[in-house]
Symmetry: C2
């Protein structure tokens, strides 16, 4: 399991617009080879922002790398610049590799 997590510090007044942006955009992820699942998660509220995290799970690192070089990636990120005012800071990308997995 290969997890790419992007953490967004979203200005409070923009939280609803931020969620709407994700819900209405076409991520083009469904057809990408090696894509497993995506979740946009709402986290804790701080005084001046709300923490959101996008969690994308890939079959392996090669699938993620291939996606970042694809047309689907460019299409999904075409609007990124216009949403800059929503964030307190640039998004923070963290990549994780599973060490241990348990399921119910």
């Amino acid at each position: 399991m290969y997890l790419t997590m992007n953490r967004f510090k979203v200005v409070k007044a923009e939280a609803a617009a931020f969620e709407e942006l994700w819900k209405t955009r076409d991520s083009h992820l469904g057809d990408v080879p090696g894509f497993v699942s995506f979740a946009l998660m709402k986290g804790p509220e701080a005084e001046d922002h709300v923490l959101y995290a996008s969690h994308t799970i890939w079959a392996d690192e090669a699938s993620f790398t291939a996606w970042t070089k694809s047309e689907a990636f460019r299409a999904a990120h075409g609007g990124a610049k216009s949403s800059g005012h929503m964030y307190l800071a640039p998004p923070d990308l963290e990549i994780f590799e599973a060490v241990q997995v348990l399921t119910a």
Copy 2:
């Protein structure tokens, strides 16, 4: 989907021991009502630590809350104090609620 994520800054020299600790302990999670899945994830390395994150997914918030008050929780965390020297800082718990989910 309700995700509880604990972030651990682990001293580099203790990373192997930290992973071993998780792999060998009995989390008692399998039988907990509402438990969906658990993953211990290895993240980026900084100069003085390695970031790990435990991701536990629950059916809902009530399942997580009930677990924190259970005997299974106490049993799983019994050894936490003895591993304090492994961390640069106390673990940082963040709780997320899914806003949007896509699967392949």
